[in-house]
Subunit: 347 residues, 2 copies
DNA sequence: TTGAAAGCGCTAACAC
DNA sequence: GTGTTAGCGCTTTCAA
């Protein structure tokens, strides 16, 4: 019932606050007698330190640098930025400053440059979005050498040199798409898997998603879907897909492994006689538009905003209250249709 | 960059900390000259008080009572209890004590009794789960008279006398079920809407869900689903549903508006020749079992755990850091299938 | 090995 | 009106 403080414990044990503190923090220099008495008391009482008081002492202010792709170049990253901004507002009254740095997600050089700038700041932690696998591993090494905590979202980089990762299970995400396809696409038809993105970007993502997708569908007895994979550049998409759909075909489903689903939906709309179901990723405004009129059937929400926000939250609570940071946090994978997107975009 | 404190402001303005504090809290008794100087300085500097220091001062410990249906009687409520327990652990180091009280969700009397007990504790806030609409309104009135904050989950009770509500849009939730049905049930077939629960329980829920469900399907051009509603007691279900399915019929979908979906799935499994899609609510272990083998096609997650946890979080941050409590928080409505349930149950 | 004391930033009571 | 001061619970330094 009553909240016991260090002072209470000290009085009960007949020692000073200092001694109690030494016991609590195992800092030694305590006589066996005192040690035992205090330890026993702490247990009996189930002493819980007041975390607010503890962190007040720590007047140090912490500095987190966030390195993200520039949402002005690829709007997919906008939610990420929003999540970071939420965290900035949430924690600036608690002595945690968070600075955002942007790079061009098509340009490894800009990524490396930004990291150099950040390194000069010697922050307490960095949050990086590792769209460039190789370069990310390089910079993480340097941060590690400088005792800077590294967090990532989106890509776990096998968790090497990383303190915490917040993201999703990408293989499973492919399986989910496959299960949805199974429910809405008749058996024996052709399903297209389209990888659609810049050359460098996210390649690991697409591979894992494809793996999960195929893996699920291949294990269904007697379904006999015919799976075709196309890796396309945005610029080629229009012509290639038009060609495919113009010829006689039995394509009844398209799985787009990135967020550029709208550009596929746009083309499919030119073929109103074909009944093609589309499943893809992320709640971009353009995607929602096609989801609303059922041109896109399902979207899978990778929740970049929450990924970014949660990741910073974990760092902040570690700095402030010494909370343990979970090495890896896998977020649920949301299935979105024309009726429930609202709850996810308005958060 | 630098974190300014009240002391800094005081020095810069050439006044004392006390005066600065009076200005910040608009407590008057400040000369116009000092008022202006300090106000200006505060703005220029964009002063943010250190919330940790502020709340340390407040050594008062807060008391929240949570009143829920007993999960031992209806396991649906177990996640709720888990959410509450998470909050208990999270906040007990911050001087917030949370006590759980349980009632029998089939017995209004037990609900009223528990509320009497809680009232005697005169807590700072109560979180109630209003399964009994009328009785809830009564007790809320009494809490209001005693200046006890009232929070609810699950049912907003038109927000009368309530400080915050955390829940979902139930009509929309019915629409989501309808959209899913539309995708997996052929046109012109019969869809059953089954309300399955104790007499008193959740009646508003079921009505709103049915409304949304019908509302969506009736607006689809040329779909001509034949909708049939059945309000059943758990005890009657077995016989009535067997009767229905044994006769020749074109039932191809069943929408269960409560969490007892498994009991419907169990019966439908006795008719392997019929291809009946089932959509219902909540991630009970029994439901998951049927979801895994595709006997249940979709579940809609009402996320009772998160509802409870979030609601308490809001109260706690109000007490600790004076954060504003949002009047109403509508959670996203999760669509769950056999492949993504994992991310929602392991949280 | 121990206790006393100062101080983190903010608040509020009190004396002038 | 204003400044001073004590104190929230915890940590840490310093002197004993």
């Amino acid at each position: 019932m009553k909240k016991y403080t260090i002072k209470d414990i000290a009085e009960l044990a007949g020692v000073s606050k200092g001694t109690v503190d030494r016991v609590i923090h195992k800092r030694g220099k305590v006589s066996p007698a005192a040690l035992e008495k205090v330890t026993k008391l702490l247990e009996e009482i189930d002493y819980q330190p007041n975390l607010i008081a503890r962190s007040l002492k720590n007047t140090k202010s912490y500095h987190i640098c966030v390195i993200q792709p520039d949402p002005k170049i690829d709007p997919y990253w906008q939610p990420c930025t929003n999540g970071v901004n939420d965290a900035i507002n949430e924690y600036n009254s608690f002595g945690i400053t968070i600075d955002s740095y942007f790079f061009d997600h098509t340009d490894t050089h800009s990524f490396l440059e930004v990291n150099k700038t950040v390194l000069k700041q010697s922050p307490d932690a960095v949050l990086i979005t590792p769209v460039f696998h190789k370069e990310s591993i390089e910079v993480i090494k340097i941060y590690n050498e400088n005792n800077i905590i590294v967090s990532t979202i989106n890509d776990p980089l096998e968790l090497n040199g990383i303190t915490n990762y917040v993201g999703q299970d990408l293989t499973q995400s492919g399986r989910i798409a496959a299960r949805l396809m199974e429910m809405i696409v008749p058996k024996n038809r052709t399903i297209l898997i389209i990888h659609l993105d810049e050359v460098f970007n996210n390649s690991i993502h697409m591979q894992l998603k494809e793996k999960g997708f195929k893996n699920y569908l291949e294990r269904i007895p007697n379904s006999n879907y015919n799976l075709k994979t196309c890796s396309l550049q945005q610029t080629d998409l229009d012509q290639k897909l038009h060609d495919l759909l113009s010829k006689p075909n039995d394509i009844s489903g398209i799985f787009v492994t990135t967020s550029k689903v709208y550009s596929v939906a746009e083309i499919v709309e030119d073929f109103p006689d074909l009944d093609i179901k589309i499943v893809g990723y992320d709640l971009l405004d353009d995607n929602i538009k096609y989801l609303k009129n059922n041109a896109i059937d399902f979207l899978i929400n990778q929740n970049p905003k929450h990924q970014a926000y949660l990741c910073i939250t974990q760092l902040a609570e570690y700095f402030l209250f010494d909370k343990k940071i979970p090495r890896q946090k896998l977020l649920p994978i949301d299935i979105i249709n024309s009726e429930n997107f609202d709850g996810y975009t308005h958060n």
